[in-house]
Amino acid sequence: MRASDGRRPGLGRLPLILWQAASVGALLALWQIGALFAEDRLLPSPGAVFITLIDAIAEGELLWHVGITLARVAASFALAMLIGVPIGIAMGRSRSLDRFFDPWLILFLNIPALVVIVLCYVWFGLVEAAAIAAVAINKIPNVVVTLREGARALTTDYLEMAQVFRFGQVKTLRHVILPELLPFILAAARSGLALIWKIVLVVELLGRSSGVGFQIHLFFQFFDVASILAYTIAFIAVIQFIELAILQPLERRANRWRR
């Protein structure tokens, strides 16, 4: 038998959505089987977690805490990008800056997230600003490294063209440098989001009295695994929504000039 598109006939022909549905279904089935054997309190079934999730949403509590956490994610994400992108570009474009600050960068890349969080709380108190700063400081070095790579690879051809035609600094930044760096900015945003929301939960657990991290800490003390899982699922859904509804359309728009 000959397949016209070069792929083997059979399962490979199924649309992606079916594959994804099958994959999620298999995971749920595994969970259900595990729940049958485990104690209810340790691993509640998917159905029980779903009911907990609906209840928590109905009470309004879940949305409030998820909302608070999202606001913290947004604030620290914006802060990390606004600080990290310019530093990364500067280090990628200037050799002396890069040489001087590279050891600092290595230092900050290797400080454990927990240390930054604890120090921020010790130095600035258990306040919102300390929490957000701690998350941003954890993320900034990664943004800097990604953007530095991008800025090092900037095409001299375009910069020279901008210089000859007297674009000036603002125009050059807006129309030459930033568009060329956009893939790097998006990569930093992607990995940033994934890292930041995890750190935000730790920050909340250690020093805030609201948010998903705080709630999970609470459920931990009550041994309420169903609620822990319900909050986790809700939050993963929200982050996935951001990826699909914001990041991916943004990327498509940014790439529309490509062939």
């Binding site: 051809d157 375009y158 020279e160 063209m161 210089q163 000859v164 035609f165 007297r166 674009f167 125009k171 129309h175 030459v176 568009p179 060329e180 956009l182 940014a254 529309r256 000039w257 490509r258 062939r259």
Partner: protein, 249 residues
């Protein structure tokens, strides 16, 4: 209003790694009269692109000086540059690429539309460069360089790597736009026939370190240059007089 005056005593590239110090240009002096189209030809590696980059102000690390044709009024001289590769911003459309090069007072004067029409690109203002053919990209680069209404136009083998007929059409297009928007042009090429077709004067550069070997006026009436045989005859004469041309080019 004045001429382009070039006086480069020396341009050298410092030794990098295992590559030795390289003197690209030495004692290169010439003047281009305002409004003239001058072609610079020479063997590859003789410093032609280096010369253009120095004139454009991209390379300031040389001994000597360059005086650009001054502009009307007090503003600084404006340079248009058609690079060897078109250097269009791929994330901006054809019209945006041209508009970005304009000075504020030139915006919305209709010059973009005029040059898009002159280069036959009137149907593609909103197209992204990567969707164009190489010949069309080069036309956009040409339109951009003329759109800034330059006091000096630099061209670095702008029609290289095109098929013969396309390159020829673009040369005629260049002459056509240049006749309507006269400006001083410094045109680098290694194609003698191209130089004879275009130039008022041909400057011959030696192998590196590049210096001026000859300064040949092209005393062929422009109306006769559409005749291939006239151009070929001039080229033959040039090669007889400067036999190094046939060896080096």
């Amino acid at each position: 209003m004045s001429d382009l005056e070039i006086d480069i005593r020396r341009k050298r590239y410092p030794a990098v790694g295992s590559a030795a110090m390289h003197v690209a240009l030495e004692d290169l002096r010439f003047t281009v009269r305002r409004g003239d189209l001058v072609c610079v030809i020479g063997p590859s590696g003789c410093g032609k692109t280096t010369l253009l980059n120095i004139v454009a102000g991209l390379d300031k690390d040389f001994e000597g000086q360059v005086r650009l044709p001054s502009a009307s009024g007090a503003r600084e001289p404006v340079i248009g540059y058609v690079f060897q590769n078109p250097r269009l911003l791929p994330w901006r459309t054809v019209a945006e690429n041209i508009e970005l090069a304009l000075r504020p007072e030139q915006a919305r004067t209709g010059i973009v539309e005029e040059l898009l029409a002159a280069t036959g690109l009137q149907d593609f203002p909103h197209t992204y460069p990567e969707r164009l053919s190489v010949g069309m990209m080069r036309r956009v680069a040409l339109a951009r360089a003329f759109a800034v209404q330059p006091d000096l136009l630099l061209m670095d083998e702008p029609f290289v790597s095109l098929d013969g007929p396309t390159a020829h059409r673009l040369r005629l297009l260049l002459l056509d736009i240049w006749s309507r928007r006269p400006t001083t042009v410094l045109f680098v090429t290694h194609d003698i026939r191209e130089a004879v077709l275009l130039a008022d004067r041909i400057l011959l550069l030696s192998a590196a370190p590049g210096t001026l070997e000859a300064d040949v006026p092209v005393d062929l009436d422009r109306s006769r240059r559409t005749d291939d045989r006239a151009i070929e005859a001039f080229r033959q004469r040039l090669i007889e007089e400067y036999p190094q041309l046939s060896r080096e080019l």
